[in-house]
Symmetry: D2
Subunit: 364 residues, 4 copies
Amino acid sequence: MPVARVHRISADSPDDTAGLRQVIAAGQLDPAGITAIFGKTEGNGLVNDFSRGLAVRALTGLLEETLGYERAAQVCLVMSGGTEGGMAPHWTVFERQEGAAGASPALAIGKAHTPALAPEQLGRRAQVELVAEGVRAAMRDAAIDDPADVHFVQIKCPLLTAQRIAAADARGATVATRDTLKSMGLSRAASALGIGLALGEIDGSRITDAAIGSDWSLWSGRASTSAGIELMGHEIVVLGVSAAWSGPLAIDHAVMADGLDIEPVRAALARLGLDVPGQLPPSQRDRIVAVLAKAEASHDGRLRGHRHTMTDDSDISATRHARAFVAGSLGGLIGHAEIYVSGGAEHQGPDGGGPVAVIVSRAG
Amino acid sequence: MPVARVHRISADSPDDTAGLRQVIAAGQLDPAGITAIFGKTEGNGLVNDFSRGLAVRALTGLLEETLGYERAAQVCLVMSGGTEGGMAPHWTVFERQEGAAGASPALAIGKAHTPALAPEQLGRRAQVELVAEGVRAAMRDAAIDDPADVHFVQIKCPLLTAQRIAAADARGATVATRDTLKSMGLSRAASALGIGLALGEIDGSRITDAAIGSDWSLWSGRASTSAGIELMGHEIVVLGVSAAWSGPLAIDHAVMADGLDIEPVRAALARLGLDVPGQLPPSQRDRIVAVLAKAEASHDGRLRGHRHTMTDDSDISATRHARAFVAGSLGGLIGHAEIYVSGGAEHQGPDGGGPVAVIVSRAG
Amino acid sequence: MPVARVHRISADSPDDTAGLRQVIAAGQLDPAGITAIFGKTEGNGLVNDFSRGLAVRALTGLLEETLGYERAAQVCLVMSGGTEGGMAPHWTVFERQEGAAGASPALAIGKAHTPALAPEQLGRRAQVELVAEGVRAAMRDAAIDDPADVHFVQIKCPLLTAQRIAAADARGATVATRDTLKSMGLSRAASALGIGLALGEIDGSRITDAAIGSDWSLWSGRASTSAGIELMGHEIVVLGVSAAWSGPLAIDHAVMADGLDIEPVRAALARLGLDVPGQLPPSQRDRIVAVLAKAEASHDGRLRGHRHTMTDDSDISATRHARAFVAGSLGGLIGHAEIYVSGGAEHQGPDGGGPVAVIVSRAG
Amino acid sequence: MPVARVHRISADSPDDTAGLRQVIAAGQLDPAGITAIFGKTEGNGLVNDFSRGLAVRALTGLLEETLGYERAAQVCLVMSGGTEGGMAPHWTVFERQEGAAGASPALAIGKAHTPALAPEQLGRRAQVELVAEGVRAAMRDAAIDDPADVHFVQIKCPLLTAQRIAAADARGATVATRDTLKSMGLSRAASALGIGLALGEIDGSRITDAAIGSDWSLWSGRASTSAGIELMGHEIVVLGVSAAWSGPLAIDHAVMADGLDIEPVRAALARLGLDVPGQLPPSQRDRIVAVLAKAEASHDGRLRGHRHTMTDDSDISATRHARAFVAGSLGGLIGHAEIYVSGGAEHQGPDGGGPVAVIVSRAG
């Protein structure tokens, strides 16, 4: 029976694989079972974030050395740049092992890759459908039938660069935007809508080209999408609960309505057995395996009735502001900031908010 | 008997005085009693933050129009730049009126100005002493005898620019630093130590030139200092409790040990009658008049055992990261982000943490 | 007979009017004749550039004090933010006086204001037409009949903020973009096309909504447009040559094909009598009264066959890169950097290049 | 007889080695002879510039693949981050081959590595001496006896991070600065003084700890130093002229007194046979093999009598401003921007200026 294990490992730099090598050497992690690695790396999380590429090179090097080229290429590497505020750079390593049947249902992991997009498909309906197809494939891989059992879908999606736009131009194709930074938002948007489509959260007929990146009433409460310069396809990881899996880990999720809306997360923690009034005390904090969240500045420039300045700041991208802020609000609840807060939550939770998944160890 | 009133007013831009004009027109605020205005303005909070100068010009214009030049010049204007994360730009207007004796002791306000510093005194013992003298003057102005009754001291202090350094050079004087950004930190540091000296929190013999901006074991738990390009002296405002004052407002303070340490603030809220397990619900939130806090990145690059990247980020100043993050953690507790989080907390609370004062309306 | 005088005055800060007061006090400038002031101020030149607002407040204060409210309001204040690289913040003050008939034709100045735009007109054909109408009015004001005699048209145009977008939303109107930074580009683009339309440089039928900000084959070689948060209409200043004017000043212009294309500027200098092989020597440099230029990163990511990274940098806006770079290339020719290089040259010169006007004193 | 060849290769990303692979495959470059690669990569050139680390990984991978581990480790990789303005990311590959005796004297190349510094030695006299020793070793390697025949010395030196500072703290050692960004400047400063000491340009008795990074009257006209996070020792490359070498390449250098001082560079070009009045025309431009320059903002905040704002800008580092600006002034002379302008020119040329070396192909 498959067992999911999750290892959270601190990173001293974007290419620091020492911690990962150590848990492998100590026999705590069998590299053969690695299905995905989520990284929070310390770049700007935007177009010219080379911390992600550096991390991918370093992790790939380790995996190829350990597993060989072919198997290494099957591991989903999802690097989310940006550790603003007090966030700690770290890796979250997802491992699938065969084990004796234990507590079940339990955390289940599935994954899929999609083919490459053409630059002109990015941010359009074609991308939504490609992604929805990929999510369904990843659910099958996780042995999850009911979309209600899916608690988090992480997708790494592509972006446009000046050169990719030029390539489309050369073929006479029209891209959805010529602004490279904006292309990241459109790609995240289309990918999130693809998740919502696959999970039945959104009426597919409403997802038109025009709605992508503009109709914020359409959203998935379990989507997390990050854009990166290093790929033109999508890497998809589904996390959920399945009776076909066993093990010590449980997962649940919440949707924050805005960057301060931590009470739904507190409620999710309570459902998982961590029921506390204030900040998690160290004993309970230690049972937190991973916090996976999306953050975003609201498009109307307001937060609970007051003005915020994130979208009018031309020196710092709104995504960087939002990550720092939500790392603070969630960190105030959890008690540390080695958490995964990913920026750019277009169609991922309501406008200005975002989904949060929590993976915990069941109480001994 | 003096009565302190505090008005928190949203600002649509750094020169938006419409809200202030409105409360005056509505008779809710008598401009003759204005002693100080704290502003959170939306610049970068660093050397080239012109939002502060713009705010000072706009507020001064309004005050001169209303009160005349002489009286307007006596109002302490403390503009703290930087509304990172979801923080809302706003004014906090402190008013002193004579009223019938009511609930007492109550919030008391005092203020003082110091003479101008020479550029070469900035960041040195001479600045510490000048500030301590000013704090004592402001306490007398507030009718507070016991330093334990002081809960917050806000100081606006000067910084060096390339031209001020050149002026010192021309006289053969040596400045403490030639790095303009660093001069802001040194000025805040010396001012905070001056507060600690005046309040008896720090042994004066330990405050040497070398300790300023480097010996982080020296700190005040009630100091808040901001540097600005627009002055060469100091504007000092003392907030505390005095039996010589009456009125509906109460104040208390807490010290955060780090950017996530919100439980001491929760305890301060409880002492003020706002005792809740999670986030303040709207009914209690409405009794919050002002939250005044300092935020800072720890100098050892760690937060609760994990690495943070704030001090290694050359694109965004650590003070901007820290403000965004602490606005999130405090906002998660309070329930909104129209709060005053000021960056650069050198010697203001322990390294990586900072003081937080809360002013509330007593329950009806 | 009207005489145009131009005063270039260094600024120590965005609100430094001391130099201007000094030339007035010295009788070198009669404030009654001030028609326009162009400022290079030291903000980021983007949405949250408060150096422009601060400058406008300071200059307006001086003008109102000197000329009274009504006359002060007629002076065109065009503040262009961003003094990247070695550029020097300064004011260029345009004065129109009546004088004895001297050398003629000579530099002529005209101006106009347009009514306010609705947010939803920004970046669309309606803005183009409003601007073209305004340029024609400014030409009449300058007594210039032939568009070939116009050498520079400076326009200050509006931008969208989160709040202006919300205002349009509230009316059910659709804005051209919801990205505030991008709105600056669209507004500059539509204004530049309006100039090109008025000067007969562009076939009006080609200027559709879709072409604005995207069809870079449409451009004016004499347009300079800057967007600012402080207005919703347009301030238009036309500079050219007219036989109806006399005086010591001459003007010519060149079009740079890219940011390094300084030879056409050298040729314009030669036409104005400053004919030198290398950098202008100090004697000739002193005859330069003003250099007014536009700079921009090319949209294809290439400069003379090599890749540039300006449009892929998410930490620094491409407009800031381009201003710094062109300030270097033009400064290398002129010999100093107290020049006016304004960013965002959409439809102002060919893609990646921009117009440059030079005003010189005729040789004694 | 040794022959030096230099290959300038465009880079599409920090890890783009395709161009290098291509010239090797085409037989134009024999990898066995590679002694050094200088890279201009597109990061911020500051503490958190991961483009350099990524480039080093990519180039190292290629070299190890081609040459084996041991030989690859001997190649000096000097990655200078920051391609502001229109600068083009590129590699400059230095190759040493044995060839038939041709034109001589000719360009000669030498190199050396120093041992690792302790963090507390950085920015102090100990670093100066270590570097001077290394420069002498590199001159011997280049067969250059007379320091006057040295035209450029490139050094990659270390910087401090929060963690390296903590390591020194743990040993009770005191670092020269706790500000990681400032540590880059101190390291470049000490390294430049080490070059000046080795070349006899600076009186060694004047190089005290206090003078490093502060007495700008001490400088080398041939030093170029860059700080990087990826090493704790120094990589030193000396370029000059030696009668022991032959080949088609020549080198000379100039010192710019400020960022606009291009006439000395024009004079150096003339000495090398490229004698033109304006910008180099394409025919002559093609003979330019490499332009290697340093750029810096002057510490007094002035450029040719006017104020610059580079050192007062807290959003963009002065080093980034200076690189963009000097790329413009030099690019305006040379005619393209695939040049190597490296920031942070402490003690490298006079304050605000910097050395420039030019390598050209002798006319056929």
